[in-house]
């Protein structure tokens, strides 16, 4: 649960509210989407929820605890329950890392498996996200973009989190890969009851995978509700603009043209 979250930036003497008094809750096993134009505060909220940056005001309650009150050691331990997948999987991994190391880190840090057992767990994680365990010794930059994003998801689920923040996690992928990754995410959600905070600018994708959506405009909530209801009939100005701007592929209409 997030309440009255505010994050300010000071730029050229002016104070800008990147996130302005935003409150929402995410239920276990639910996908809540954050959508809006660039600069609307989507990614800032993602980083605030994970405490990668600190809010200027407001509170975050996670699994019944005051998340903002955690000290640094307690926060690090708590991070096991709250994970993130980034937009660009190449940028989200140490360029020197191998697949095995990337997946080994969370297991080691949170003491999930002994040193001897970890290679087996890494292999199991790779298989869980539909990759071959043979990929483990490969360097991150040697595998394809789709494989990389699967590794990123495997890393996120390694610590059995209850919430994963997906920050434009499928936006940089080729469309043919995007569908498979979305299927994988939904499959994981069904099996492990993971909640997703799904950040995207693509309303088509949001409508297809999210239960609820929050439309943001300039750091404020413009509209929220059931994802299909909101996107099929937006009420706010930004909602209407976003829906109008989404490219449409009207295959039947196109067929009718000469």
């Amino acid at each position: 649960m997030v309440s009255n979250l505010t994050r300010r930036y000071r730029r050229g003497g002016k104070t800008i509210n990147a996130v302005d008094d935003v409150s929402f809750t995410i239920e276990p096993g639910e996908t809540l989407a954050l959508a809006g134009p660039s600069g609307s505060g989507k990614s800032t909220i993602a980083r605030l929820v994970l405490r990668l940056i600190e809010p200027d005001a407001g509170g975050i309650e996670f699994e019944g605890n005051d998340f903002l009150a955690l000290g640094s050691a307690a926060l690090r331990a708590q991070r096991a329950r709250l994970q993130m997948v980034f937009q660009d999987p190449l940028a989200a991994f140490n360029p020197r890392a191998t697949v095995a190391r990337v997946l080994d880190d969370p297991l080691r840090i949170h003491g999930i498996a002994s040193r001897a057992e970890r290679p087996r767990r890494v292999a199991a994680l790779l298989e869980r996200v539909g990759l071959s365990a043979d990929l483990a010794p490969r360097a991150i930059h040697e595998i394809s973009g789709g494989q990389r994003q699967r590794v990123a998801i495997a890393r996120a689920i390694a610590t059995k989190p209850s919430l994963i923040v997906l920050d434009e996690a499928v936006s940089a992928l080729d469309v043919s890969v995007r569908g498979q990754i979305l299927e994988l995410l939904l499959d994981l959600q069904r099996q492990e009851r993971i909640a997703y905070l799904f950040i995207s600018h693509d309303l088509g994708v949001v409508r297809a995978v999210a239960h609820r959506v929050i439309l943001l405009d300039a750091g404020r909530i413009a509209e929220s509700g059931d994802a299909r209801d909101v996107i099929d009939a937006p009420q706010s100005a930004i909602g209407k603009a976003l829906v109008a701007a989404a490219p449409r592929l009207n295959r039947t209409r196109s067929l009718g043209r000469p």
Binding site: L52, S72, L82, A92, R155
Partner: protein, 276 residues
């Protein structure tokens, strides 16, 4: 392609490796080729080169074998150059990484210390340090490192400042990695390439600084150094210029070798990074 082969394809790298290889070989075989004290008297004083084949490069004012001194001097130059550069790079990258990664007060304090060191000319600093503590190999190494770690520190800090904003650092924090592990395992290795690119310049500068200190009589008195040899020859520069010229040439070739090798490495890694 294998990096070593690509490395050996660049002509400057080959030239550098040849020069540096010759220097290392000289340093390694010096005790075999010239056992005993190179500072012992071996023949008549001021024998010119190429006169006596047992003393091919002649002798100095005290009758010491110049070739033996040259070989043993290579040991000192190489040891001091590499050790001082390694120390400077190690101190510099650790200080730079901590400053850049921690930010805030830590950054402020560390960078003001760096400023303080940088405002004093590094040679004067080394000179003062050796004069106070007394000349010995370790002290000379420390003195040179003291004046040169600031460059690597600044470069490392600048690199770290950009790297710590990258997604993979955020990602490491998100999985709960300890900040020190992030700094030294995720950030530092990626901040190193530009710092290491400086290493050839630092090694070359360290060799020259060592030579200059020895020239001023502040080198380790128990070791032969090229700087010391040049200083020795200075008194008889008009009558026996070879005594200064021979170690001078050795010094120039060494610095050139180090520098070219460094260039070659930078070239190779740059190509590799550009392709990945």
């Amino acid at each position: 392609m294998n990096p070593l082969r690509r490395f050996l394809r660049t002509p400057e790298a080959v030239a550098g490796v040849v020069l540096l290889g010759a220097l290392i070989a000289m340093a390694l075989i010096a005790p075999l080729l010239f056992p005993g004290d190179p500072q012992a008297i071996a023949g008549p004083a001021l024998l010119p080169p190429f006169n006596d084949w047992s003393l091919p490069l002649g002798t100095d004012r005290l009758g010491r074998d110049v070739l033996a001194e040259l070989f043993h001097g290579a040991r000192t130059s190489l040891a001091v150059g590499l050790a001082a550069a390694a120390a400077a790079l190690a101190i510099g990258s650790v200080v730079g990484t901590l400053a850049g990664f921690a930010g805030g007060l830590v950054d402020e304090v560390l960078m003001r210390i760096t400023d303080a060191f940088q405002t004093v000319p590094s040679f004067l600093l080394a000179l003062a340090f050796v004069s106070v503590v007394g000349p010995s190999l370790g002290v000379v190494v420390a003195a040179i490192a003291l004046g040169t770690w600031t460059g690597p520190a600044r470069i490392a800090r600048a690199e770290v400042l950009s790297i710590r904003e990258r997604d993979y650092v955020a990602s490491a924090r998100a999985i709960g990695m300890h900040p020190l592990e992030i700094a030294f395992r995720e950030v530092l290795p990626n901040a190193l390439p530009p710092v290491l690119a400086m290493s050839s310049v630092i090694v070359a500068a360290a060799i020259l600084t060592e030579a200059a200190l020895s020239f001023l009589g502040l080198g380790d008195p128990n070791r032969v150094t090229w700087g010391g040899m040049i200083a020795e020859g200075r008194a008889v520069l008009r009558t026996a210029p070879f005594l200064s010229i021979v170690p001078g040439i050795a010094l120039v070739l060494t610095v050139l070798g180090v520098y070219l090798t460094g260039e070659g490495i930078v070239e190779t890694t740059a190509v590799r990074r550009g392709l990945s």
